[in-house]
Assembly symmetry: C2
Homo-oligomer: 492 residues x 2
């Protein structure tokens, strides 16, 4: 298979697909809309997952596991939620296959093994979880419940793209229950901040924290908070959502508690999630025409060492030096690999690790060793430096931090350059085509206008930023009065 | 809810269910045969999973993720495998629900959203994975592939029991591809040993390593290796299996590679798995009439500190001392909790942590503190000791190790006392009823005899132990000649 990538300027979308496949993150599968996450992609996901998991636990959450299936009668209990997900859900109707009498060696659904009640493969777990919480909550002493679940979910999307939109995807879903509205809103905002911190500090991805318009809310939520990131092609990507669910699910599943004041009250709820979609965001935010560019803090491999030698003597010498380095690096907590595969040449390896986005490459050559230096190349800027072996682990630790920071700064600069205040409709339309990005514009606050703008331009309101500056203005489309700008963009 | 458990002697099966529910490991769900794994149970599973994951990675495996669904045409490709799982699989036939016109607020399967090809919810992933490996393997250079997946699977079992047999369960499934038969067998045996080591060193569960008879093999395997454990009621539990799959899946999915000798050859395969069923084994091997007994190495909590005081002054004093202890314990890597909940009394807490199987309980009382000692109670023997505060972290670390070892020794002693060589059919039948355990007996090697013994006694051949001693004898049922003993038991 050729490792050549389509360039971003040629075809951004093809570049993305090429990169996911050739960078060994994922592969297509035999199941419509489902992908295979390959070991390299999964190692990346593990690093992201483990860090998020630590942050969830630090904020008092525990993991649990709820069933994959939602019986239809539970699924339909919260009406808006059901309506939102019914159109695209996988439904289990039978529990057995049998030999097809008309076609030897083939199987068919056994009509006698029809389920009395259909089971929906969870597209999200509010229904099954709130049906369970009903049994767990009697009094205010049972609250709050702060539970997270790492799971697979299925949404039967018609158009799918690797990581960005797949029929099955991996995610985490937090589901919390509280005694008061204030506490639930506080939780919703706290988890949004956890997501924002994770995106910025670990994925090097600057995000705008905001709330969704009613039209873009999660089905069944009273308020949806989100973090929005800007991709290199000027399109937005929703990177995480945190929902204040009010008492909607408590009412749908009749979950009440005895308050301190001895009254029966409905419980307040939140839910929040991020998914493998984040990997798509990561790729589109940092990578380039040579391949992936991964932030050191979550990169599966942080450093690769490639030996360059001629003959057995040099090979042995360099191998010994490499062992030493590996030992030092591992002791310093650096994820490192020594690639002494003899079937491929150094140049091929350089290209391969560039494609895979390994932050730092060290070339270990016989001549350099004589001078007690090595050549260190960083993936983000492609700069090469000759570095003394003495104290190299400190140099590398600092370099990894510098790369992490540089990626963030670069992405932030890009976002700033591509966030534009617009006050004129024609300019708004022109920019979307010619210089797409975040367009900060006034909106009259109605669903009709939001919908009209979407139909005319394919741009949606990504969010109303949190702590938004109040500013008098006129709606970009209708000219009606508005008190604040919102963020428009075309989005993934 | 009463915390009273049914005793083991009264009703072992009820004791088990009580313990799972009241010990907060799991709960029943609204979905037939599926359970909810509660936070305490999931924390236990996380510790088990993380340790196994480390062992898989140390033996060169990587994680990946494959689709939840198996298209019917792939599912049926390996005939024996399909036959084995077709009778109990969940089948997705539709991808949408719609409003039920005859019943407002209700949903129904949309007949227009019928899938062209049904999707089976994976009961195991050989089919979907080998269909993928086909694209990944061209030459011997692509081998071996050493991949593991942590996933949920679904088998539509008719009779289910919490953890032991549920329609959906969590597990890991390793799927490896090799260039030679020898290498694949070596892998199969290596992973069996990983499981055995994990069971013995972390779960404190002695196991017999063996191979299954042809009748008990995994559907599609050439050889199934297993580890078998003995529960307190004398029934066996299969705790893990490792399968040598020969070239069956390579042939079914046409997966060939170009060998070093430049020949096209079919790839050799293994698969191996353990599941949340292990939690059932853990509970039934160690726990007692007061509750769970968990081995320290995998217990979610290793030490709980309960304060005993009167009045605010003592409370503050003890709180300060507890902070000190917690800091020391955490620094020593001990999983510890300080329970200063004022809504419950010390006696209630003692019972609660006994029920939850926390290995060590420390009572922190004002009088003891004056003497610079604390009362340490161990869960396994229920012994209490007064221990000086000076150097207590070392004492606790050693005690946790001692408890771990004691649990293993106790289980091993139990197994030894309940493994009996039998040479007489009447004795065999009597023992199964009166003193059930592992019965080591001669068998004539035929499937007919195996089946006849099962029908007469409900005992099955658990395994033919690895490195089994050769010994001339006569089949326990038929009297025909036999060259080795095998292990019989009634099993979960």
């Amino acid at each position: 298979m050729s490792k050549e990538l389509t360039s971003r300027s040629e075809d951004y979308s093809q570049w993305y697909n090429d990169l996911i496949i050739k960078g060994s993150l994922a592969d297509y599968s035999a199941v419509r809309g489902c992908m295979v996450i390959k070991p390299y992609g999964f190692a990346l996901w593990e690093n992201m997952r483990d860090q998020l998991d630590r942050m969830f636990k630090e904020t008092g959450h525990q993991n649990a596991y709820f069933p994959l299936f939602v019986p239809k009668s539970l699924f339909e209990a919260e009406e808006k939620n059901a309506e939102g997900f019914a159109k695209e859900c996988a439904v289990v109707t039978h529990y057995r296959l049998k030999t097809d009498p008309s076609s030897p060696g083939k199987l068919m659904v056994d009509p006698e093994a029809k389920l009395e009640e259909e089971l929906v493969v969870r597209p999200t777990s509010e229904a099954i979880i709130w049906n369970t919480y009903k049994d767990w909550i009697q009094s205010y002493r049972d609250l709050p419940i702060l539970i997270n679940q790492w799971a697979n979910v299925v949404r039967w999307e018609m158009r799918t793209r690797l990581f960005l939109r797949t029929a099955e995807f991996l995610w985490q879903e937090g589901h919390t229950a509280h005694a008061s509205k204030e506490e639930a809103i506080e939780e919703t905002e706290k988890m949004l901040e956890v997501y924002a911190t994770f995106a910025e500090d670990f994925m090097a991805l600057p995000v705008i924290r905001g709330i969704k318009t009613p039209g873009e809310r999660f089905a069944g939520a009273e308020e949806t908070y989100c973090i929005e990131a800007l991709m290199q092609d000027g399109k937005a990507l929703q990177a995480g959502t945190s929902h204040f669910l009010g008492q909607n699910f408590a009412k749908a599943f009749d979950v009440k508690f005895l308050s301190k004041e001895n009254k029966q009250e409905y419980v307040w709820a939140t839910s929040w999630g991020v998914s493998t979609r984040l990997i798509g965001a990561l790729v589109m935010a940092h990578s380039d025409d040579s391949g992936l560019v991964l932030p050191p803090r979550i990169a599966p491999l942080q450093v690769v060492i490639v030996p360059i030698y001629k003959g057995e003597e040099q090979k042995t010498q360099i191998g010994e030096k490499a062992d030493e380095l590996i030992k030092k690096f591992k002791a310093a907590g650096i994820r490192v690999k020594y690639d002494d595969n003899e079937n491929t040449r150094p140049g091929w390896k350089f290209a391969e690790y560039e494609l895979k986005g390994v932050p730092v490459r060290i070339a270990l050559g016989a001549r350099d060793l004589g001078a007690s230096v090595v050549e260190v190349a960083r993936r983000d800027t492609k700069e090469k430096t000759s570095v003394p072996l003495e104290g190299i682990e400190t140099y590398i630790i600092n370099l990894l931090e510098e790369i992490q920071q540089n990626l963030y700064n670069r992405a932030l600069k890009f976002r700033e350059e591509n966030t534009i205040e617009v006050d004129n409709w024609n300019e708004f339309v022109r920019l979307l085509d010619e210089k797409p990005g975040f367009l900060s514009a006034h909106w009259d606050g109605t669903a009709e206008t939001e919908e009209a703008i979407k139909e005319k331009t394919k741009a949606t309101i990504r969010c109303i930023p949190l702590h938004n500056k109040k500013e008098e203005g006129r709606c970009i489309l209708t000219g009606r009065p508005s008190s604040q700008r919102v963020i428009f963009a075309r989005a993934y």
